[in-house]
Amino acid sequence: MVFFINQTINGIVFGMLLFLLAAGLSLMLGIMRIVNLAHGSYYLLGGYIGFSIAKHTNNFFLACLGGLLAIGILGMFTYKVILEKRFAREALGQVLITFGMLLIISDLCRWIWGGIPLAIPKPQILQGAIYFGKIVFPLYRLAVIIMGGVILIFLWWFQERTKYGAIVRAGVDDDEMTQGIGINISFVKTLIFSIGALIAGFAGVVGGPFIGLSTGLDIDILLLAIVVVIIGGMGSLWGAFVGALLIGLIDSFGKSLLPELSIFTIFATMVIVLAIKPSGIFGTK
């Protein structure tokens, strides 16, 4: 029972982290039709930048802010300078360009921070744990779960309840008409892409204390985030959330029960979902 509850908690926490990545990826894919394979690199680079800031200032929240801003700016640059003009509607070009960025960022990270796995220290006030009998619930993990919930609500509000969300949805339906009535669609798209990137950079710092930072993590986490998007359905925020929790839990239980074939359990889940609904659980097309 204790094992079961602990694995469930671990799964939910990891799921929240995956949600942060998948939400951005799904936003870019579903709303803007942009495939961003550098998303895992945003995560890793954000984490490393956070690590350096935490090391020098001893302030975890400053580290979060630094990782988030740096990656937000990088995302803005990626979209504005490279993707927007020529590759906004060309998936293959996006895939290859962002994969090129993945290689470059991965090598730069190894160059600057070395190949040894690093971990960001937890913030002072979140170091304790809550005890329920035999079950230990680390405060930091509780904070990650709450934060995941807050970001879910923020993104939902942004997409469904703000002017920007509405503009983006209009822009997807008819780009020229939206521009024709005097809306600066380019600005809104850049904003969306930057927000997606920024959340990924933030996730890198948040994940730093419990899954660490290491070479190859960029592709591993990108892969899981993509599976989440495939399972949840492209462009669906709730799909990203449900998919992320599902994969987080399966990953957590799979790793402890079937360590040799843990990745196969994730694959099997994806296949089952695709067999029943090729567009994902919450997918529309």
């Binding site: 495939v35 998936a91 090129g100 495939i230 990745i263 090729p278 567009s279």
Partner: protein
Amino acid sequence: MKNPKLPIAIVIILAFLSTLPLFLPPYYTGLFSLMIIFGIFAMSLDILQGYTGLPSLGHAAFFGTSAYMVGILNVKIFKGCNFGVELITGILSAAVVASILGLIVLRSKEVYLLMILMASSMMLWGIAFKWRSLTGGDDGLPGISRPDLRPIHWDLGSTTHFYYFVLLFFIVAAVLMYLVVHSSFGHTLLGIRESETRMRSLGYNIWLQKYIAFIVSAVFAGLAGILIAYYNGFVSPAELHLVTSAEVLIMVILGGAGTLFGPAIGAGIIILIKNFVSGYTEHWMIILGAIYIFTVMFAPQGVYRLFRQFLQK
């Protein structure tokens, strides 16, 4: 398409390839073997990418599966090389993986398809990485011996002889793939690439045609996988990794998608650059990343078309 200078070009290239070990040092002959193996791999992806219009970021799945099949048979079962069995099983294993994956993925389209293929092939990578007892985990399977052709006086331990062995397979595979894309089936695939709706209204079973193309493409990728296992003498999860899938995709784009021979040239260029740059700096991944970006920005049509335009002048 018809160009009188093209046969001449082919003869020159063949003459160059078949006399190459005579004037190049063994190191470069070995490098050309690698280029030719990846040439087969890239051409096989072009059947999907260029001719059928199915983008794939998971082509390493077939390449790696057959390489592992050869590795497991060679190292764990025969304790030596049983070439006939390994060749057939390797190709069959790639075809089986493709026929299973095809059932799952081909209902999806474009970006979705690309991502599902990527996820699927990375899952195979994960299995190879984790299932130590069968695959050796991240150490891979070392000690794969090359086919023993000494009875017919062909010593594949020699770089030159192995080069001709690979070249022979390359020519056979290239001719077969050329016949496939110029058959009525190949033209159907082109039709699907250009307009699925039109082909459907003409009465074609789009799904089935794509499914067959998927398997045919996997078979040739599998052949390349078998050769790479012999070339390296070991298999590792890297053969199944996303980086390999992306590399073969950039070879196709750089060479020219939909030109069949272009991707082989793209493969040669990428292997050559990788080899050259990694001799100078350990940060060759940065250069490779830059090549990805520059190829898409400045040569999205591929070098083969530039070459052909040059011939037509």
